[in-house]
């Protein structure tokens, strides 16, 4: 066990895995000498050189398309998109190509590829509309893709190992607000966190909060607050957005009978809709209250001015209010 930040967990895992498997390459804008705009690839270029740590041209479709080709030919590319907000130019390569490669060739060709991107906004991240989005729902709708979002340094390591070793394309989103805000224990060995397994990060018998990413920490804070009044909330970190851990979701919802789904991404058509729909269908008989959802309001993204940004972000207060609504039901 070592204590480190989330960005450091990403960085050291890349370093380790590149050392272990020479097929792993890293490519993206500014990932080389600069080490990435958040330092997630710092030191890799020094360690592995130009051939394996590639500063790409400013072209996201190119980054993903070239990574796909490299994966087809046997490499294990880890592509960085500088911000998740700049994934849309690569959407065709992800949706039309990476996601369908295996299926369309009956498994003859495949595309083991990781696309890492920082996502999210919030406190002290002055990102504004184009450096703050959470776009996971778009990819979670696409068969053939996997989507993971770690909320702790340990999961950052374990899920990144799983993603790099996965036989299929995995989108790996890192919440910027967690990069340095939080340090945590990270196991030293080869500790994979399997894709598709949620984690109960706080136990409770009275309600379930299903969430992921930076919101996990806000949810735990909110749960601690309502616990003061004897309402015990189980907080489940989904960790994988596709495939969802249906078994864990359903088990926890059935156990508590009251469910809140919370995420930072826009609420409408977000991941929470799928999670809520699963609970509504599978746990109908056990539910003691409507499945509540909270998420980003219907505005395009998080504005620059803090006064406006605050309108977007959930924070423990709004989660607490939703939990109290469940408690009162």
């Amino acid at each position: 066990m070592t204590t480190m930040t989330l960005v450091e967990a990403v960085r050291t895992t890349l370093l380790d895995e590149m050392g272990r498997d020479e097929r792993v390459i890293v490519l993206g804008e500014d990932v080389g000498v600069k080490g990435g705009v958040f330092g997630a690839t710092a030191g890799l270029h020094q360690a592995f050189g130009d051939a394996r740590v590639i500063d790409s041209p400013l072209a996201e479709s190119g980054i993903v398309g070239v990574a796909i080709g490299a994966a087809l030919a046997g490499l294990r590319p880890v592509a960085e998109i500088q911000f998740v907000d700049f994934i849309p130019p690569a959407m065709d390569q992800l949706i039309s190509e990476a996601a369908k490669m295996r299926y369309r060739s009956q498994g003859v060709w495949s595309c083991p590829l990781v696309v890492r991107a920082p996502c999210g906004g919030g406190v002290h991240v002055h990102g504004a509309l184009y450096h703050s989005q959470s776009l996971e729902a778009i990819f979670a709708h696409v068969p053939g893709l996997k989507v993971v979002i770690p909320s702790t340094p340990a999961d950052a390591k374990g899920l990144l190992l799983a993603a790099i070793r996965d036989p299929d394309p995995v989108l790996y989103f890192e919440h910027k607000a967690l990069y340095r805000a939080l340090s945590g224990e990270v196991p030293t060995g080869d500790q994979v966190v399997p894709i598709g397994q949620a984690a109960v990060v706080r136990e409770g018998r009275d309600a379930t909060c299903l969430t992921y990413g930076a919101t996990v920490h806000e949810a735990v804070a909110a749960a601690d607050r309502v616990a003061a009044d004897g309402f015990e909330v189980e907080v489940v970190d989904l960790r994988t957005i596709r495939p969802l851990d249906r078994a864990q979701i359903v088990a926890s919802a059935n156990r508590t009978g009251k469910v809140l789904v919370a995420h930072e991404a826009n609420l409408i058509g977000g991941v929470g809709a799928e999670v809520a729909a699963i609970v509504a269908e599978e746990c109908f008989e056990q539910l003691d209250a409507p499945v509540l959802r909270i998420g980003g309001p219907a505005m395009p993204a998080i504005p620059f001015a803090e006064s406006l940004a605050a309108v977007y972000c959930l924070g423990p207060d709004r989660i607490e209010a939703a939990l109290r609504k469940l408690a009162a039901y």
């Binding site: 390459i25 051939a51 394996r52 590639i54 790409s56 041209p57 072209a59 479709s61 190119g62 398309g65 070239v66 990574a67 796909i68 080709g69 490299a70 994966a71 087809l72 030919a73 046997g74 490499l75 590319p77 130019p89 065709d92 390569q93 039309s96 190509e97 369908k100 490669m101 295996r102 299926y103 369309r104 060739s105 009956q106 498994g107 003859v108 060709w109 495949s110 068969p143 053939g144 996997k146 799983a162 070793r165 996965d166 036989p167 299929d168 994979v192 966190v193 399997p194 894709i195 598709g196």
Partner: protein, 336 residues
């Protein structure tokens, strides 16, 4: 270009067997293409994109490469190319008829979406020009393993307008990667003429702007294509980087079986392209060089027809895909 049996017909020293092989490959492509179009009119093959008019380009390019070693990322018009690399007529007929043994996709994709791992023909989707970037990524892997294979990727002149085409050429040039970008310019993208696709006369003029050589070749001249592709492949193998090759082709058929080009092309234009049938031209050249005569040509034609007949019979007897497999291969095994 004058051909003689004794002297090698061009600097690359092609012998008679090779030349006749190339001619045969063109004939086979044509006959198979025609057959699929017949099957389409009979309601048996729902969708066809024809290679007619592109055979010289495709066979010339294939013959200049090392089949099974060099990587191919084709597009939907490359029937004759993929045949010449080693796919069998029956493979294409399985696809045309939507039968399970289709090696490209098990009839999951439309026909014309060629794939064969043993032949290093890489699966492509329908989104135009995406494969051009994959070719660059494969070349990157080749380079990283210090192999000497090259990558050929093809698209139409319409495909050059996509952003991916630009991003691919730029990347390949920066890293001097072993990729050949072959643009089969038939002057139409469905109904859109070249003049509405670009403001330049030659696609190859784009190459200089990326810092790579650009060559325009008469795509009706199989030997010229063979030479140009061979030279580019040589350069690529020796680390001298990518080449943009534009082959001027004619599109003898409509864009696809869903299209009718008489609705947007001049009758005169359609007559004119008929005069540029690459098969007629190569046959005339071979005959003039004394390498082929009428009866030999007929023999080739009828052997190819037999091959297609047999393939059709085999394909028609093949099963359609088992619905129980429809959900397989969305994800692979061994993921956590």
């Amino acid at each position: 270009m004058a051909l003689t049996e004794s002297a090698p017909p061009d600097a690359r020293g092609l012998d008679r067997a090779t030349l006749i092989g190339m001619y045969r490959a063109m004939v086979l492509g044509r006959l198979l293409d025609e057959r699929v179009m017949v099957l389409n009119r009979q309601g048996l093959a729902p969708f066809v994109t024809s290679c007619q008019g592109h055979e010289a380009t495709q066979v010339g390019a294939a013959a200049a490469l090392r089949a099974g070693a060099d990587w191919i990322l084709p597009y939907y018009r490359d029937l004759a190319l993929t045949l010449a690399i080693g796919m069998r007529p029956v493979d294409h007929l399985f696809a045309a008829l939507g039968r399970a043994p289709d090696p490209s996709s098990g009839a999951r994709q439309m026909p014309g979406h060629f794939s064969s791992r043993p032949l290093r023909i890489v699966t492509t989707g329908s989104s135009v020009a995406t494969q051009v970037l994959h070719a660059v990524g494969i070349a990157l892997a080749i380079r990283s393993r210090q192999e000497t294979d090259v990558v050929l990727t093809t698209c139409g002149e319409g495909g050059t307008s996509e952003g991916d085409f630009h991003e691919a050429l730029n990347w390949a040039a920066i890293h001097r990667l072993p990729v050949l970008f072959l643009v089969e310019n038939n002057h139409y993208a469905i109904s859109v003429p070249q003049s509405r696709q670009m403001a330049i006369a030659r696609v190859a003029e784009r190459a200089a702007g990326y810092g790579m050589p650009g060559v325009t070749v008469d795509g009706g001249d199989v030997l010229a294509v063979h030479r140009v592709v061979g030279e580019a492949a040589e350069r690529a193998r020796t680390g001298a980087g990518p080449t943009l090759i534009e082959a001027l082709c004619v599109r003898l058929q409509s864009h696809s079986s869903d299209d009718d080009q008489r609705r947007y092309r001049d009758p005169a234009d359609l007559l004119d392209v008929r005069q540029h049938d690459p098969l007629d031209r190569f046959r005339t050249e071979l005959e003039a060089a004394g390498l082929l005569d009428g009866s030999a040509a007929d023999a080739i034609r009828s052997a190819c027809r037999d091959e297609v007949d047999l393939a059709q019979a085999e394909a028609e007897a093949a099963p359609v895909p088992d619905p129980a497999t429809a959900l397989a291969h969305v994800y692979g095994e061994g993921g956590s």
